[in-house]
């Protein structure tokens, strides 16, 4: 090539290159200087990520706190399969067989789910534990992956199930303390907005936003794990022994209203709440109303003593077991002639109770029932509390007063009845029952601390002391509740046997047996109620519920180290 040709070529190349460089330079300047929001957004979109930081749900602990964990979050994994990959590899049968053995699922079911080549993800097992995940990893199956998840777990299975409740699949508390304290337990999620490099790895130094998740707070209950366990065991034994339909019990601290144990049978496993029935999920201690029967007499006697319409020495004619009143005949279980008021409650005379209630008058009697907490919710910190049934005075008939006095025509919850007895034990102060002691966040800051709260004072201290004395006699020789006495302790209480109203009439077959009381009688510390629904063949409160009370109360005083009342603190009347 000639020299001239070379020169021309060099000039052309220079011009082209210069033009290209100028073009690129202009483009670069244009991109950097001109406002191109759309382009910038695109760059930001590809180079930054936003991630939600999930808050861990708080734990639930018993009254001793520490390691006594009743509910907590556990790390788990969902096992997922990629059917398209597995089908492409032609390993559906082999993979299904291997997974069936590891996940304890039917082979055919897994094979059907894997044989869907159009799908990219198929959940095979949710919340698989660490051992299962490790075993599947070790099997080295192609097309199987694991997605991290958090599992709400209840380490003791059905233990305390009705109080704890459960969390649904959306991590929302759906029953019990989980529901009632959800706003504390749930915490709040955080967010991270950060830049990533070309490999999509986070550039920590270039985090735009970092709002850490607020972990859920721990809820400390008033429940004592040991007492609760023993109560549940006693109820299970009673259910079996008496072939009962249901049974429930509460142990309450008399002076504060703190619930130490609350159990209901049948129960369920909150880890497997999907398989439970509505009946098994019902917390009968607060959500089931029943006619209390003779346990209501304690309220009648307390009201009359408080109004001074009777004294313990007042003699009342018990009509030899049959008393016609307002066109109906009221019967006693055993026939009695004249009895003192003190003996009337010991023998559980229906006629005496009815006469005493009539002596009070409808309005006064109704006022006392309300003051003792019947007919309204006590406000326990659990969802699903029933208010019971107590009709207003204006809708009472001629016999209502006499029937209410023996626990008919009124429906109560076990919590209400126990509350009334604890009021008698607590110098007349009716306390609000509670199961949540305090709420503490992860830094140790106390967010909520429950203090004992007085709801009302239906009777004065002097009347309460007389009642404690009278109720103590119920568990002595000749009383209806002698099977409830605890060795070494003086127990005050009352038996209750109520016929169930079925189809508008009182059944002679179906009964509710109960015993409610407190101890030590002279210096009460704990109150206990036991209710057994439809026990067979024995059905009286003294025979069925009394021994259960004895077992629960006897072990509770040992667990809590409650001494029998010393001689120096004897009440003198």
């Amino acid at each position: 090539m000639s020299e001239r040709g070379l020169l021309r070529r060099a000039v052309v190349c220079t011009i082209v290159l210069t033009a290209a460089m100028l073009g690129l330079g202009f483009r670069l300047a244009f991109l950097h200087l001109a406002p191109h929001e759309e382009a910038l957004r695109g760059v930001r979109r590809t180079s930054s990520v936003s991630r939600k930081l999930l808050a861990g749900r708080g734990r639930i602990l018993d009254r001793r706190g520490g390691d006594n964990i009743l509910a907590l979050n556990l790390p788990a994994h969902h096992v997922c399969a990629d059917p398209s990959t597995i089908c492409r590899n032609g390993s559906v049968r082999e993979t299904a067989a291997a997974l069936a053995a590891l996940l304890d699922l039917p082979v055919d079911g897994i094979a059907v789910r894997l044989n869907r080549p159009e799908r990219k993800c198929e959940f095979l097992s949710r919340y698989a534990d660490a051992e299962t995940v490790e075993a599947i990893r070790a099997a080295d199956l192609a097309g199987i992956e694991f997605r991290p998840a958090v599992l709400r777990h209840y380490p003791h299975d059905s233990f305390l199930c009705h109080v704890l409740g459960f969390v649904n699949h959306g991590s929302v508390g759906s029953a019990g303390v989980e529901q009632y304290m959800d706003r504390y337990l749930a915490g709040s999620s955080g967010i991270v907005e950060t830049r990533v490099n070309a490999l999509r790895q986070e550039l920590y130094a270039r985090r735009d936003t970092h709002i850490p998740a607020l972990e859920g707070a721990d809820v400390h209950l008033t429940i004592d794990q040991n007492v609760q366990y023993m109560v549940e065991k006693a109820l299970d034994a009673a259910m079996e022994e008496h072939s009962a339909k249901a049974a429930w019990a509460i142990v309450q601290h008399v002076k504060t209203g703190a619930i130490l144990a609350m159990a209901s049978r049948p129960g369920y496993d909150p880890n497997e709440f999907r398989f439970s029935t509505e009946k098994s999920r019902l917390n009968r201690t607060i959500g089931c109303v029943y006619e209390p029967g003779s346990t209501m007499k304690a309220v009648v006697f307390a009201a009359a003593l408080n109004e001074c319409t009777v004294t313990p020495e007042t003699v009342i004619d018990c009509e030899n077991g049959a008393w016609p009143h307002a066109g109906k005949i009221l019967h006693d279980f055993h026939s009695y002639g004249e009895l003192t008021v003190a003996d009337g409650i010991k023998k559980s005379s229906n006629i005496m109770s009815a006469k005493i209630a009539l002596g009070l008058g409808n309005r006064r009697f109704y006022g006392y029932l309300c003051a003792f907490g019947f007919g309204s919710r006590l406000g326990v910190d659990l969802p699903g509390e029933e208010s019971g049934i107590l009709h207003p005075v204006r809708s009472w008939s001629n016999i209502s007063c006499s029937r209410l006095a023996i626990g008919q025509g009124v429906a109560v919850t076990a919590l209400q009845m126990l509350g009334a007895f604890c009021a008698i034990a607590n110098d007349g102060f009716l306390m609000r029952p509670y199961v949540v002691h305090r709420v503490v966040d992860r830094n140790g800051t106390v967010l909520l601390e429950r203090a004992p709260e007085v709801l009302s004072r239906p009777i004065d201290g002097e009347t309460a002391e007389i009642m404690r004395h009278l109720l103590r006699r119920v568990t002595e020789e000749g009383g209806t509740g002698r099977r409830a006495c605890v060795e070494g302790y003086e127990v005050a209480g009352k038996t209750g046997t109520a016929q169930k109203a079925i189809g508008g009439v009182y059944s002679s077959e179906a009964h509710v047996a109960s015993f409610v009381g407190f101890l030590p009688a002279r210096n009460p510390e704990i109150g206990v109620i036991v209710v057994v629904d439809e026990p067979q063949p024995l059905h009286t409160g003294g025979v069925v519920a009394g021994p259960v009370f004895k077992r629960i109360a006897g072990e509770t005083v040992r667990c809590l180290d409650i001494p029998p009342a010393p001689k120096g603190t004897l009440a003198r009347r």
Partner: protein, 106 residues
């Protein structure tokens, strides 16, 4: 020279920040792992020391534990621990000593 030094310092600081960021990220992951591990261990411990598990373990080992009989429990009165009070004061404080108090006294 000065500009070169500043540029090198800038690059070094940038690298250092990146390195610390990576380290923090690793520590964050480690913390998360440890928390998971702690939760798992707490769960196992809670399960192990539950009354039901203790009872089962005792049964497996054929150990029978019962509460001591009432007559074998010696309770000290509060005024015994106080060294004894006299007169009316003693009559007012006839209360059993709590278990923790007795232990402390020992």
């Amino acid at each position: 020279m000065v500009v070169s030094s500043l540029a090198l310092a800038y690059v070094w600081l940038g690298c250092r920040c990146e390195s610390l960021g990576r380290e923090l990220k690793v520590l964050e992951q480690r913390q998360s792992e440890l928390k998971k591990h702690y939760d798992t261990e707490a769960f196992k411990w809670a399960r192990k020391k539950s009354p039901r598990n203790i009872e089962r373990t005792l049964e497996r080992r054929r150990i029978t534990m019962v509460w001591p009989h009432r007559t074998r429990v010696v309770r000290l009165l509060e005024d015994d621990l106080n060294g004894g009070l006299s007169g009316d004061a003693a009559a007012d404080v006839h209360k059993y000593a709590r278990l923790d108090r007795v232990t402390g006294h020992e």
